[in-house]
Amino acid sequence: MSALRRLGPTLLAPVLAVVAAIIISGLVMAALQVNPFDVYAVMVDFGDTPAQQMTAIVVILNRAVPLFLAGLAVAVAFRMGLFNIGVEGQYRLATIMAAAIGAAVALPGPLHVLLIVVVAMAVAAIWAGIVAVLKVTRGVSEVISSIMLNFIALGIASYLLTGPFRGSPEGASIISTAEIAESGWMPSLNWVFDALGLANPPRQLSGFLLVAIVVGIVISVLLDRTRFGFDLKATGLSPSAARASGVDSRGMVIKTMLISGAVAGLIGMPDLLGSTHSYTTDFTAGLGFLGIAVALLGRNNPVGIAFAALLFAFLDRALVPLQIADYPASVVTIIQGTIVLAVVISNEVARRIALRSAERGMAQNGPPPAVGDGGSGPAQPAGAGRATGAGQHTDERQEAGA
C-alpha cells in the first residue's frame, strides 16, 4: 500500500508526460496541417504479417540499444553534476580502436568478443579520463574539454582509419578497418523468437541487447544501491555537503568519468560486433548527442533511460513508414523535438504536483507543534491525511505528534 503510494507520483510523471506529448505534438501537427491521428496510426502500425511486426520490433530494439547505452553514459556523469558532452568522441575513438585490435587478433569465440569490448571500454574510459584529469588538476571546464575532445577524437579516428588502421583495398568507395574474424562477432538473438513461438523476422536482433540489459542493471545497482553510488549522488546534489561527509570529490570526478567513458565505449559495439564487423567512415555518428537527450528524458534513471531510448527508437522507426504514407520526414524530427520538450515540461509539472502533495502531507503533520506543547498537534482525524492520498505516511504522524 505504502509502496504503491510512494510510486504514485513517480508513475504520474511519465504518464502525464506521454499524454501531454501526444496532445502537444498533435497540436503542432495540426498547425502544420498534418492530421495527427493519421500520423499516430502510421506510427503504431507495425505491419500486417507477424514477420513484419517482429521486424518492426527488432528495428526498434536494435536502435534502442545504442541509444540506451549512450543515455546511460551521459547519465552516470550527470548524476554527479558533470556534463559529459564528450560521449560522442569517446565511443567513436573506442570503436575504431576496438575494431582495429579485434581484426588484428585471432582468439576463440567469446574471448575475442570480450577482448574487443574491453578494449572499447578502456579506450573510451581513458578518453573520458582526460576530461576528468584536466578538470581536477587544471580546473578546465568539462563542457569545453569534452566538446574539444570530440573534435580531436574525430580527427584521430580519421587519421587512424586512413592511415595505420586502413583495411579496405585502395580504391574501395568506403574506407574501413580490416574485418573482424567471425569469432569476434556477436551472435544474434533471433533464437528467442523461435523459443517463444513467434515469427522469426529476417532482421537480426542484436545480441548486444542482453549486454545492454546487464549493463543497465549493473549501473542501476551501482548508482542506487552502493556506497559509491551514494557518494556520486551526494556529490551531484551538493558537492560541498558530499565533501564534508568525507567524499573525495576529485577522486569521484575521475572515477565517474571513467565509468561514464567505459559505458560510452559500448555504444558502438552493437553495430561493430553485430552488423558491420569493421569501423568505416560511415559508422553511425551522433549517438553521443542523442544520448544527452535520452538521458535527460529518462531523468538520469536507468529505467527511465530505457523507456526514453525505446521512445526515440520508436519515433525513428516511424520515419520510413511515414514517408511511405506521404508524410515528410521532417515532421518526425519536429515531433521528436516536441516530444522531448513536452515530456520534459510535463515531468516538471508532475514533479511540482508531487512536491505539492508532499507539502500537503507535511502540512497535515502541522507546523511543528511547540516544545512542551506535547500532543497538541493540529487536531485532525488520521483519515484526513489519507483522504488526500498525498503519498505520505500518516501513521508516523501519530508517533511524531505523541
Binding site: 556534463f83 563542457v143 574539454s145 574539444m148 521532417s330 515532421v331 520538450l341
Partner: protein, 425 residues
Amino acid sequence: MSTVTTAPQRAGRGPVTELLLGGGRARRITWLVVAAFVLVSAVRVISGEQALTSSSTISAALLLAVPIGLAALGGLFSERAGVVNIGLDGMMTLGTWGAGFAGYQWGWSAALLGGVLFGALGGLLHALATVTFGVDHVVSGVAINILAAGVVRFLSELFYTDNPAGGGVTQSPSLSSDPPDFSVPVLSSGPDLLGHLERLNWFLVSDVAGVLRGLTSGVGLLTLLAVLLVPASYLLLWRTAFGLRLRSCGENPAAADSLGVPVYRLKYIAVLISGALAGMGGVFLVFIAGIYREGQTNGRGFIGLAALIFGNWRPGGLAAGAGLFGYADALQLRSRSAVVALFLLLAVLLAGVAVWQAVHRRAVRAVIAGAVAVGSLVAFLSIDELAPGLVSFTPHLTTLLVLSLASQRLRPPKAVGLVYRRGEN
C-alpha cells in the same frame, strides 16, 4: 565600526599567468598580446611559414571567428541572466534559415533581419521552457537543437520545393543582393601599402602589416557589426542600469526580485537577445555562402559556448576565445605545414615554463615541461606536414592547450542553470 578582517581572496594563478600577468589588468593583457605577437613573428621568420601572419590567414581567421563570437555573445547574454543556453546551435540554425528565406526575396538587409528574428524565436522558445515552465536549461537547449533541425527542414519543404526562384529542401535560393564590404583605402586597397609591406617578409614589420591588412581589407558589414558588438555588449552589460539588472538575475535572482527587478521579464529579454545574436551568427554564415544551406552551422554554436566559457563569461574574453579558435582554424585550412610551425611555438612556450618552474624549484614540473618542449622541437624539425585527420583539430587542441596551461580562474554567474521560481528560495 568593527574590523572585519576577511581580506580579498583571489584564486591562485598558474605559473605562466603569474609570469606574464603581473601588474594592472590592461597592461598585463597588452604585454601578453605583444609578447605573443613577437613570438609568432619570430617563429614565422625561423620556419619560413608566411601563412602564420599573412593577411589571407588573418582575414580567414576573422571570418571563422565571427560566427563563433556571435554565438558566444548570445550565450553571454543568456548565461549572465542565469539561463544556460545549449540551444545556441539550434538558434543559429534557425537564423540561417530565416536569413535565407528573407534574403532571397528582399536582399541582404532583410536577411539580417530575418535571421535575427528567427534566432530570437528560438530564444523565445527557450525562455518559455526555462523561465515560464521551469524546465531544466540543458534539456530545453538539447530539445531546441533537435527541434530546429526538423523545423528548418520542414519549412524548406514547404517553401522551396518547386520554388521558381530555386532552392530545395536543403537550400534556399540565392540572396537577391550581397551585403557591402569595406576596405580601408590607401592602406589595403588602391595603393595597398600594407600589402606591399607584407610582401617584404621583414621580421615584425611584415607581420604587423599582414595582420592589419587582414583586418582591414574586404571586411564585411556584419563582421564590422560583430566586432563592434563586443565592446557594445560590455558597455550594455557592465555600464548601464539595464545590464546591472540583467546580470543580477544570473547572480542572485531572489535578491533582484526582492528589489523589484522584474527577473522573469529580464530573463526573457536576455534569452531573446541571446537567440537573436546566435541567429545573427547564422546570418553571417549565409552571407558568406550567399545561400542558406542545411547543416551550415556545423556545430559552431557549441564552439561558441566553449568560447564563452573560455572567455570567463566576459565579452573581451570570449572574443579572445573565438579569435584564437578562428586563427588556429584558419591556419590549418590555409596550410598544413604552417601548423607544424606551431610546434616551434609550443616548444618555446614550454621551455619558458620549464625555466620558470625550475627557478621556483618545482623539479618535476620543470622536467615535464622541458621534456614536452624538446618533444615539440623534435616534432617541428622532423615533421613536414601533418596528416589531414590530425591537422583538422588544430583549433580544438590549441584551445584545450591554452586552457590547461593558463590557470583557471573561471567565475560563472552564480545562479546560472538554476531554475528560478519566485518565492521558492
